[in-house]
């Protein structure tokens, strides 16, 4: 009897997951959220359904941070150089290019080797 119960539960979980994924495939996000909420009520012990429910939650404001510096210079640099580095990642700080390379990791390493903090730079990959 217990085995039958377990089997039914597992099939039920999979059924919910399939329905939620179908809704997502059709970009019916609200339907997917509604299904996920129903599913976790029916199977509160299901880790898979709990994860689905969590990932699909509406966004949540978690706080505020101080304002950043104006980015007028960075915007001006990007506009001026929009065709200069096709396919490359660049790191800029104000109106200065710090690094440019096809590999983002290399760009970030160059930034740090030159004594800049990652939080002070803007990174962008130019189109090819």
């Amino acid at each position: 009897m217990a085995r039958i119960e377990t089997k039914k539960t597992a099939r039920g979980e999979k059924g919910w997951i399939r329905r939620i994924r179908q809704a997502l495939a059709q970009e019916h996000v609200e339907e997917a959220r509604r299904l996920a909420a129903q599913a976790v009520q029916e199977f509160p012990g299901s880790e898979s359904l709990q994860k689905l429910h969590h990932v699909l939650q509406p966004p949540r404001v978690i706080g505020t941070l101080p304002a950043g510096k104006p980015w007028d210079k960075e915007r001006a640099w990007l506009i001026k150089n929009s065709k200069s580095y096709p396919g490359m990642w660049v790191a800029i700080r104000e109106d200065h290019l710090i690094a440019a390379h096809s590999d983002l990791k290399t760009v970030l390493e160059t930034v740090q080797q030159n004594g800049f903090s990652l939080r002070d730079i803007l990174i962008h990959r130019f189109s090819k």
């Binding site: 997502l24 990932v55 966004p59 304002a67 950043g68 510096k69 980015w71 983002l104 803007l122 962008h124």
Partner: protein, 153 residues
Amino acid sequence: MNNDRLFLADGSPWNTAATHLLIDYPYNSHNLLVALRFTVVKESPFLIGLLDTAATWVILPESILTSLQIAVDTSLSLKEKMSSRFGVYEGYLNRLPLNFIAESGDSLQIEATCFISGDWPGPPVIGWKGCLERIRFAIDPSLNRFYFGALAG
């Protein structure tokens, strides 16, 4: 008087922050019509994201997360395919903190649902579900200015 604050008729503030946008920025054969500065997690480099209310999700190239060593809880991941004008891409949905950087007022931290894709060829996209749907925002095209804040209530 702060020109970056908008108010409702009853005098209550409508937004808490403002910043400039990047408008009509060339990208491949398209333009990033309206792009915004943001970060993924605190203390990380600024990124430029296409503001796209027609996009279902925030889209992030996986290379950004791996290169910045931003840990993603893969146990929370939901593998999916996403159809876009570039084609169909595989990736996974996950929750990440995004920070919309203000030039005046307070920058806003949002826990957002993001589609993270290893082969996404486009720029980061700031989409509707899981992100913009809970942000109050307005654009003044004459000033390239983006006014924003958390939804009231």
